[in-house]
């Protein structure tokens, strides 16, 4: 395979400026991650410790094989929301007894581990990762149940008006836990504290339950509810203590004497699973890219307008910087080709401009080829969208773009998306955006994801408004329009930022560009726990 050359001018002003901007964001990212790691804060953590309990992240660290990696998912969920950053949940992929597992834990220091919309979305994402990639599922349960406070301080009537969710559609998590079991993906619950009412079904639906002496409490109704319902006076130990459940009810399978003993038992359970990965094996002999990893910081500009060569990214993430390009002369705004990352064979699609008919067709062909040889796909997003204009519409851009989306949607090899810079409109879909069954999606710090660019959107709204005024025969207030456009652009900009997307769990997390290669490698290894198999079946190709 040929080694990619780098034409990057590291002495240029733009490189230096880009690097400064990205570094500024990575520092902000580190600060936010630091904040997220503190969970409910020092006081709450001290309270936990005083009760002989470990903070959630410590529990997870104790579970992981020493010195093995841990890929946290959506660490910044609920940033810029009324909830604690991180959402009171930690979800991630970690190695336990040499088995890649999906590990999920309630953080007891954050509102006693209660559920909210953010962490529920994160939890469902965790279950999805376990299911799609066939990763044994380990949950550290300790939850006060639903957070009944909702979005505190709001006008209740306004809240009702805004709500789009209803209890009637809740509970999918229990369905998914048992579905994992049905799919022969073991589920393990380690109950660290109270798990009441609906929460009781978290262990209830699990394959293996480890309860901790004098600490785990699992019941459908706690002592107050029992008193109200039947008049019975019951202590919580009698009602749902670890001793009772492991000796009397049989809901618990293992009785641990303390937290670290429970974690030890959990490791033993994973060890006995005799887990065999079903996917491709990586070639163990590989070399690092020949170009400098740090250069990835200087590619993306803050306003995203100045372009960069996607091959500069590819040259810094593939083994030995090797890349065998497919159809280099045809549809060059989409770069396609084969490479290896940490010894895993992959197909890579990366944007070098807007999508044209030729580049879309090339993508459709390339995706089919990768399906033919069961090769996972990496999508490197820097896409403002499909090309627009009369010539292109007449040339069938919608028809050809549909081919690409058809191929992406029906492809059955795993997709990994890294959003480097912009990912706008249908371009996001065509590059296997979050909604297209992508196994993993990560964003770079300066990335923006939206229906279209904020400036374009404000401009479009202004044009549409002017047209409506004309139709109605009223005067168009230029000043008011300018004001409106400015506000619209500001909020569109805020909502398009990578950090906002990541806080809404619209991706799996924001990463430092320098971690891209290893993040992809961890994803590829996790993906290989399941079968990697392509398809020949696609939707009807519009010809």
């Amino acid at each position: 395979m040929p080694i990619l050359d780098s034409k990057l001018n590291k002495e240029s002003d733009s490189f230096r400026k880009n690097k400064e901007a990205t570094l500024e964001m990575t520092v902000a990212l580190e600060e936010l991650l630091e904040e997220a790691s503190r969970g409910g804060g020092e006081e709450a953590t001290a309270r936990l410790r005083s009760r002989g309990k470990m903070p959630l992240r410590e529990r997870i660290s104790c579970l992981l094989d020493p010195d093995s990696p841990f890929l946290e998912i959506s660490a910044l969920a609920a940033w810029r929301s009324p909830f604690t950053i991180g959402s009171g949940f930690v979800v991630g992929i970690g190695v336990v007894e040499n088995v890649e597992c999906l590990i999920l834990g309630h953080d007891p220091s954050v509102r006693a581990g209660a559920f909210n919309n953010f962490n529920m979305k994160k939890l469902m994402r965790g279950l999805e990762i376990a299911r799609e990639n066939r990763l044994p599922y380990i949950q550290f349960v300790e939850s006060a149940g639903a957070d009944l406070r909702g979005e505190a301080g709001d006008d209740p009537e306004a809240a009702i008006q805004r709500e789009t969710e209803h209890f009637g559609e809740s509970g999918r998590l229990f369905y998914e836990i048992t579905e994992l079991s049905k799919l022969r993906i073991p589920t393990i619950s380690l109950v660290f504290g109270s798990s009441t009412a609906g929460g009781a079904y978290q262990p209830g639906m699990s394959d293996y339950n480890i309860f901790i002496k004098n600490q785990s409490k699992v019941f459908l109704g706690g002592p107050p509810l029992v008193k109200m319902a039947t008049g019975e006076d019951a202590t919580d130990e009698e009602l749902g203590g670890a001793d009772m459940h492991t000796r009397t009810s049989g809901l618990g399978d293992y009785l641990a004497k303390d937290e670290s003993d429970g974690i030890r038992i959990c490791r033993e359970v994973v060890a006995h699973l005799n887990w065999k990965k079903l996917g491709p094996e990586a070639d163990k002999n590989f070399s690092e890219p020949v170009h400098e990893n740090d250069d990835l910081l200087g590619l993306v500009s803050e306003d995203l307008r100045s372009p960069f060569d996607i091959k500069e990214v590819i040259a810094r993430i593939t083994d030995s910087s090797y890349f065998e390009e497919f159809k280099p002369l045809y549809g060059p705004t989409l770069v396609c080709g084969w490479a290896k990352i940490h010894g895993y064979a992959v197909g890579i699609l990366g944007n070098n401009g807007a999508l044209f008919s030729e580049s879309s067709e090339k993508a459709a062909q390339f995706i089919q080829l990768c399906n033919q040889i069961n090769t996972p796909l990496i999508f490197l997003h820097n896409i403002t969208g499909f090309i627009v204009g009369t010539d292109f519409e007449q040339g069938g851009i919608t028809k050809d773009g549909s081919k690409m989306i058809n191929a992406v949607a029906n492809s059955t090899v795993p997709h990994i998306s890294i959003i480097l810079a912009s990912s706008y409109g249908a371009g996001n879909y065509a590059m296997s955006g979050r909604a297209f069954g992508t196994r993993f999606t990560f964003v770079w710090p300066l990335a923006k994801i939206a229906v279209m660019g904020p400036k374009q959107m404000a401009g479009v709204m202004s044009i549409v408004g002017r047209a409506a005024a004309e139709r109605k025969g009223i005067d168009f207030d230029e000043r008011a329009d300018a004001e409106r456009a400015k506000i619209a652009e500001h909020w569109a900009e805020e909502r398009s930022k990578g950090l906002y997307a990541t806080s809404r769990i619209a991706d799996d997390g924001m990463i430092d560009p320098r971690d891209t290669r290893e993040v992809i490698a961890i994803c590829l290894s996790s993906i290989s726990s399941n079968v990697v198999k392509g398809t020949k079946e696609f939707g009807t190709w519009r010809m």
């Binding site: 104790c62 030890r264 430092d512 290893e518």
Partner: protein, 663 residues
């Protein structure tokens, strides 16, 4: 005297280090070495190195290396034409020597008559007294001996000494009359167990004396010469641990006198083969102690300063050849010192500590000679003497020989078994030793450190080496995501950590890898120290800690980490990450500290014992170990009785659980 045909096959009626030593000379003389072995020695190096070996089918000394019948059978089975007894075991057993000769097999050693006449220390003293060799006053203890009167006649302090055997077994120093009876009782029991003869005698005990002995060789044609003296004053538990030649206290005048006295003593009994005349040397003079009618453990120091092979001389003499050297050929060249490495615990009164030698890599071999009985993986069995190796240095000066030897010990890797290596080092480098101020009470008087002292910063640096090796091994043994950087994180998680402990200190080392492949060590005070790793994962650690490049050899065996660099050796125990049951404060049982046999019980089930009360005596490694009550308690059960063989950690005594009682 009839001609003896050349020896072709030697059966070595011994084991360990000395068996290997004899094999070496056999090879030089083109003689077939044959070994015999006990079950526990079946995989020992000496058995591997022999051309032929016979399984003696037993575990104890009595069943094997002391069993005349089995040894004679082994000779017949292998057509051995000579027996070399080595030292210890049957080397000074005149009956066995006679049996060997009666079976038409050559005995490599003096005649049974000579052995017999010198075997009993008391009668040997009488013979020497007659030959005008200076001796110390002594009284034999018989059934009707008035012990008190006998002791008073000699005067305190005195020594209770077994008449048979040697090696410090059955010896007790008594300073006041109160301890006399129990000392005699203990010495008799030990002598009975070790030599099958409980005869003991009392002898005057002199303070500030040195143990000096003269090596002699004689052929069967009446030629007897001496090979100068050795000094073996450095002893613990009455056993020599450091020996040297020549003695720093012997002047040329005394040397000449000692040599002549030894030759005269030998002539008085028509001695032939190699032998040793032992003396006590004090300011007042020298006194005959005994004659050892065998090769000594410490013979190499003599070989080194004279450039001779004493085993070869022994074999030639047995072949009825004349001595290959004459007295005037022998000139002392420089100074040699030997140190004996034992499997023992210097911090627990040198208690034998049998086990498996997990790692054995002799150090500084260009300057020192290693006569060892072990290789990596060799078991030092509890049934026999726990000596692992003898290390011998030879230099132009005594001081240089001591330093070379200390350096050889320091750079020797010996892991997995408790040993006295560091203690030997600190003894050799003790200023009093270097000055030649060596009396038999050297150890008690100067009390050299039992282990080297290690500074906090050295300990931390070594712990960091362990941590770096640990993470490298964890990564290389990972079955998934092996290619990902050590401890990779994309969020803020607690750092990696490893908890280690030494005998004195517990250390928690926290660390995290950085994107550029370096590590950050977070010490106990929270200080961050950068580490840049050059080599790891193969036992050879090479890294920069801040600015300093450091190198360590690191190996993990079980849950123990062994770390060594130019400063010496440090041992860490890894504390498992999961909580373990703590030792109960109120122990409810006593476990055997090592495998052995119960030889006496002093308490019964139901007895109330106070802290420190003697409950039973365990014999292991030919030593008595007292099992005492750890606290005031009532014995609920004695799990072993007299004669029972117990394994390591086997429960010996159970106490009633007070908590249970209260319920």
């Amino acid at each position: 005297m009839e001609d003896v045909k050349p020896i072709e096959r030697i059966l070595i009626a011994n084991r360990g280090e000395i068996a290997r030593r004899i094999i070496k000379t056999c090879r030089k003389m083109n003689i077939v070495p044959i070994c015999v072995y006990a079950e526990t020695d079946s995989e020992a190096p000496f058995v591997n190195e022999a051309d032929l070996a016979i399984n003696l089918e037993g575990r104890t000394s009595l069943e094997t290396y002391l069993n005349h019948e089995k040894l004679i059978d082994a000779c017949k089975l292998t057509n051995a034409d000579a027996v070399h007894p080595g030292y210890g075991f049957l080397s000074e057993n005149h009956e066995f020597a006679k049996t060997v000769i009666d079976n038409g097999i050559n005995w490599i050693g003096p005649s049974p008559e000579i052995i017999k006449s010198m075997g009993d220390k008391l009668s040997a003293k009488e013979i020497m007294k007659k030959a005008k060799v200076p001796t110390l006053p002594s009284v034999k203890i018989e059934q009707n001996t008035d012990i008190k009167a006998a002791a008073d006649k000699i005067g305190y302090p005195l020594l209770v000494k077994a008449s048979a055997g040697g090696g410090g077994k059955g010896m007790r120093v008594v300073r006041e009359k109160e301890g006399l009876a129990s000392a005699i009782d203990g010495a008799q029991r030990e002598a009975k167990n070790a030599f099958g003869d409980s005869t003991v005698f009392l002898e005057k005990w002199l303070e500030d004396t040195r143990h000096v002995e003269v090596q002699i060789i004689g052929d069967q044609h009446g030629n007897i010469i001496h090979c100068y003296e050795r000094e073996c004053s450095i002893q613990r538990r009455h056993q020599k641990i450091i020996e040297e030649a020549p003695s720093s206290a012997v002047t040329p005048k005394i040397r000449k006198e000692l040599g002549e006295t030894a030759v005269n003593a030998a002539k008085a009994i028509n001695y032939f083969s190699t032998g040793t005349v032992e003396f006590l040397l004090s300011d007042q003079g020298y006194y005959f102690l005994e004659v050892n009618t065998r090769l000594q453990v410490e013979h190499p120091v003599t070989e080194e300063i004279l450039g001779i092979d004493l085993v070869q001389e022994q074999i030639s003499i047995a072949e009825n050849k004349k001595l290959s050297v004459s007295q005037k050929d022998l000139e002392i060249n420089g100074h040699a010192i030997e140190a004996r490495i034992y499997a023992e615990d210097p911090e627990k009164n040198f208690l034998p500590s049998p086990g498996v030698v997990q790692r054995w890599m002799p150090g500084n071999q260009s300057l020192t000679r290693f006569d060892s009985g072990v290789e990596e993986g060799t078991t030092v069995p509890s049934e026999f003497d726990p000596m692992i190796a003898k290390v011998i240095s030879h230099a132009s000066t005594r001081r240089q020989a001591a330093k070379d030897l200390a350096q050889a010990l320091k750079s020797t890797k010996l892991y997995g078994i408790k040993n006295n290596k560091e203690f030997l080092e600190s003894t050799l480098l003790h200023e009093n030793f270097l000055e030649g101020d060596t009396t038999t009470d050297f150890i008690e008087k100067t009390n050299p450190p039992r282990a080297r002292s290690i500074s906090t910063s050295e300990l931390e640096e070594a712990a960091i080496a362990v941590v770096m090796e640990s993470q490298a091994l964890n990564r290389s043994s990972a079955k998934v995501m092996q290619s990902i950087r050590s401890g990779w994180r994309n969020s803020v998680m607690p750092p990696q950590s490893l908890e280690l402990k030494t005998k004195k200190k517990q250390l928690l080392i926290r660390y995290q890898s950085k994107r550029n492949g370096t590590f950050e060590i977070i010490d106990s005070e929270g200080n961050k120290r950068p580490v840049r790793l050059y080599t790891s994962g193969n036992g050879k650690l090479d890294f920069e800690l801040e600015k300093t490049r450091v190198k360590y050899d690191v190996i993990k065996i079980g849950n123990k980490w062994f770390v060594q660099n130019f400063r010496g050796h440090i041992e860490f125990e890894e504390i498992p990450r999961d909580s373990q049951d703590g030792e109960e404060e109120n122990s409810i049982e006593i476990k055997a500290p090592m495998p052995g046999a119960v030889i006496k019980t002093l308490k019964n089930e139901g007895d109330l014992v106070l802290k420190g009360d003697l409950i039973l005596i365990l014999e292991a490694m030919k030593m008595e170990h007292q099992i005492v009550a750890p606290r005031k308690a009532k014995i609920s059960r004695m799990h072993a009785g007299v004669g029972d063989q117990v394994t390591n950690n086997q429960v010996l005594v159970s106490f009633e659980d007070e908590h249970e009682e209260k319920k």
